[in-house]
């Protein structure tokens, strides 16, 4: 838990300093949702949560440092209906940077955007050595702003993580979250 708090504080500090340098609007937010493995027979659906910041570089372009903790669901291994055992799904800690392109500023109360990003992922699973590998993210989202400082966001993100030895794991992440905005409109 200490590690999560420290990393989150570092992330917010990074976002704040970067935004101050850029002289623009920025936000910090938290989110949670579902982690759904795609074409992976050995794990089930899991959950995820995380924190992120958004620094607006241009009215249509921003960058989002993010820290995500995701879990895979456990999977029962069966042979002709007989349960051989349950395989633990394991979890992934991801730290990355997404580029966000869309209607990100102005007076509209709704923002639409697409995103693409890179990240570093540390995977842990019983009986498999831990590994830290490169990942890529691609997605889209929508954010509603009921006030000048708060945003409510829903997004879908494909998160692909490479594996040591070859291949990779692709996940669909569906999340909802809250953002708090700082800086000039």
């Amino acid at each position: 838990m200490k590690r999560i708090i420290c990393l989150s504080m570092m992330l917010f500090f990074l976002v704040g300093v970067s935004s101050a340098c850029a002289g623009g609007k920025f936000s910090v937010g938290a989110f949670a949702g579902l982690n759904m493995p795609l074409v992976q027979e050995d794990v089930g659906n899991g959950t995820l949560y995380g924190v992120k910041g958004r620094i607006l570089l241009l009215p249509f372009l921003g960058v989002e440092p993010n820290l995500v903790f995701s879990k895979y669901g456990d999977k029962d291994i069966k042979n002709d209906g007989e349960l051989l055992g349950t395989r633990k799904g394991g979890d992934v800690t991801s730290f990355g940077l997404d580029a966000v392109v869309g209607t990100l500023s102005g007076f509209s109360s709704t923002h639409f955007y697409g995103l693409v990003g890179v990240n570093s992922n540390t995977s842990k699973r019983d009986a498999v050595p831990d590994q830290t590998r490169l990942g890529l993210a691609l997605g889209a989202g929508i954010e509603f702003l009921p006030s000048d400082v708060f945003g409510i966001e829903v997004r879908a993100r494909i998160h692909a993580i490479s594996l040591e030895g070859g291949g990779g794991r692709n996940n669909l992440e569906i999340t909802g979250g809250l953002n708090y905005y700082f800086g000039p409109m």
Binding site: V39, D42, A99, L163, G165, G167
Partner: protein, 180 residues
């Protein structure tokens, strides 16, 4: 105006991002599959002090579908029952090898890879090795992974008395990733 110029200077990361994306997309089209391979009890052959069985994944439809695009063997697990009909405690060991012609325990110990050791069965009892038990005692994953990549390997169970200590219901669970 000055602010826009300043902000454009922060776009340095975009070419870098595109470069990483272009060089790293090979794993975007990858999936993970599981084969559950059951060895029939009648295919477990008995000789002095050992039991022997072949595992041939190449006949499995999932393997046939993906073997040409195989990326990685992610996990190999085994479950089985070890049945002891002796009046004393028995211990067993499981070895694997690419060589299916090994016929005595000395040759197996010398050239095969030990993956399960210290399987202890009380007198007139049985030991059920399930996934949890297997992961607790399993060793030498890298060597086993290399064997499984070929799709064919042979398992050897060394027991004190092969006529009274039997191996039953042997199942191999292979998890692999492949491009789609």
């Amino acid at each position: 105006m000055n602010r826009i110029i300043l902000n454009y200077r922060h776009l340095w990361f975009l070419p870098l991002l595109l470069l990483v994306l272009a060089s790293g997309c090979w794993f975007l089209l990858s999936g993970t599959w599981v084969i559950i391979y059951a060895v029939a009890d009648e295919d477990i052959h008995q000789s002095t002090g050992l039991h022997k069985f072949d595992v041939n994944l190449t006949d499995e439809d999932v393997w046939k579908d993906h073997k040409d695009n195989l990326d990685n063997i992610e996990d190999v697990a085994m479950t089985f029952n070890l049945v002891n009909e002796m009046g004393t405690e028995a211990t067993g060991r499981i070895y694997v090898s690419s060589d299916n012609s090994l016929t005595d325990t000395t040759a197996i110990k010398a050239s095969a890879t030990l993956i399960l050791d210290g399987l202890t069965v009380p007198a007139n009892d049985s030991l059920k090795v399930d996934l949890a038990f297997y992961y607790d005692v399993f060793q030498n994953f890298e060597a086993l992974r290399d064997l499984v990549k070929t799709g064919v390997f042979t398992g050897y169970a060394i027991v004190p008395n092969s006529t009274q200590v039997h191996i039953r219901h042997f199942i191999v669970v292979v998890t692999f990733s492949a491009s789609v």
